[in-house]
Amino acid sequence: MTFDERLAAIRAAMIEHKLDAIVAIHDGAHFIETPNPVFVLSGFKSLGPTAMVLPRDGEATLIVTPAWDADRAAECCPTLRVIAADDVADALASARDHGSLRGARIGIAGLAFTRWDIAGRLAQMLPHARAADGIVFDAAAVKTVEEIANAREATRIAELGYARLIEIARPGMSEDALALELKWYTKTLGAEDNFLLLCAGPRNAAVAPSNGRTMQRGDILVAEITPSYRGQLAQICRTATLGPASADLKHKYDLLVRAMNAGIGAAHPGAPMAAVCCAINTVLEAEGYGEYCHPPHIRRRGHGLGFGSIRPGDVSLDNDSVLTEGMVFMIHPNQHLPETGYLLCGEPVLLTAHGAEPLTQRRSALVEIGL
């Protein structure tokens, strides 16, 4: 799929849903868990609040704040009409008053995630607008050729980042210092952002943002290394020990690797996402961990990836989304086990006609960092 083909699919869906225009809104708070409809429709990652007006036919408009960032937007999106604005809601109101939206049947995407001082005004300004999140985000469930290439590069950076972690993580270093060094290092490789969760301890309750804790010999270090390359995220979930790992930990980690491989094996075009989760759970249930395969212990076994759309959504038992060639998502059995605490194990995969292709060169394995 190309970007233009995706846009054509969105416009076709607008006709089907009887929409004359879609207003996409994003407040500039980029987050792995909240999709960005402006990024889906334009490919532009903004500094501040932005909006895009996509008519069913004709020229689309990108409203950019701060105004001084409009040149960058125009360079990124040469086919769009770019409006430099100091206030995104005022600029949208102006567009409405000048006829761009008057009388039109409007769909709106991104409203629920947008901060109140913008979203509240939009809701008042477009009281009859219908939610169009599904139209925008569903169309982006399959990645474009460019996004797939970017996901591969982001994965390459993630693996290099992990190699760096193994090289430098030592007792006496704080989690924060290690995380900062990895963020900086992945930036030198081209990652413009990194959702890097990293923590360590003798027994982790979860993976969490780093803090000032000083790492110690014997710690289990868990890391979700998630660089973004040109706006496309890819993630690897890894576990390492500071010093030798116990035989029990190795055994349990092998179980997670088997579960992950079962999940990867179950992912193929036409299968529901729930089947991937089920395959992972089955391996763990067979070893007596059925109780730990459900909330509160575990919520999902993976998720979509991207600052634009996070479709196809979570790898969970309640996700009936049908897998399609070209989707990119995480499969990670990340699991709390009573003997070991929380462990991370997961790969980003591209769904091909032949099944799920891990984008990594080396699959997850427990690493013992020599001291």
Partner: protein, 371 residues
Amino acid sequence: MLAMNPTLLIGPADWDPARFPREEFATRAEAFWRANQSATGAIVYGDRVNHAELAYLTNFTPKLEAALALIPRQGSPQLLVGGGANMLPAAKPLTFVEDLRPLRHVGKTVAQWAREHGGDAPVLIGSAFMPYALHQEIAAALASKIGDKTAELRPLMVRKSARELAVLREACATLDAAIAAIRASQAAGAGVTATILAGEQVANRAGAQDIRTLFSLDGGRTLRPFETLVERAVDPLQVYVAVRRLGYWTEGLAVLTAPPHPCAQRAGTVLREAVSRMQAGARCSEIARGIAQANLALHPLTARIAGNAIGLALEEPPLIAAGCEERIEPGGVYSLRVGLSDERGHAIVSAMVAVRDRGNEVLWSSPEAAR
């Protein structure tokens, strides 16, 4: 000034009781209650992007998901942290608040707290930043009987305590070291990415909590965030660097080039004159007017807003801009920016200014303005 918001905050944000003891926060809360006699409690929102008010009252910086502090007029505060119960251990070191709970069932939780602890007239702080859906949930739970008092907290935040000023000085020293490293790298002929990252690494290793950068590839006409690797060297190199330390931001703009840069020198002269007018009681609009009266072509980046108060947020009110009739406060710390742009060149320079009862102190300034 606005730079790209990351998907996750990475860097040291633990509460340091030696630098900011509980008394500091108690004093802040008491000042707020004095200014809001009828308020019986406060519901304070913060997220990765907007959390200055939350940090001011609790020291908590939400690195990952949003948080709500429930602060009664009498009694102990609660902090509701996003991400589930497993995230609480990681959140604990970031605040003095002892009662941490998962942020879930927000409407019900907030309504129950208001009934039991928050009295019949709690106020909201930071509600403009809440996602639309969350704001609606809270408004519904409290039957919309609640007003936002963020504007009444902000004047208290403008006047910095001795402790805050000490941290801001340290942050300025880190900013200076970062820009010196960028200058040295650029002078050695390094490419743009390597040059910028040299400064970021110096800041990281000096203990910065966060660092954000913008740079120019067109001689200072526009600024851009890191998007992808730029290996070519650029001279002159216009940079923007923001450094955060123990919660407090400083920022600086500099033009890096070996030969004399007449535009930067002119901008430096205008900035020095503007700094001299940064006196307690001066109107923000007067400062902005003084810059405009230099009769030089202002840079688009600084033409509308020439500065702002700075502290726990990069951009705090008041803005130094035409039409802003608020006065410069003694005890306030401000970022002041002057940019010039014409056919002869482009340059933006800046200063960090601490305003005293009489006179002011330049905490940092672009080298062009220090001459």
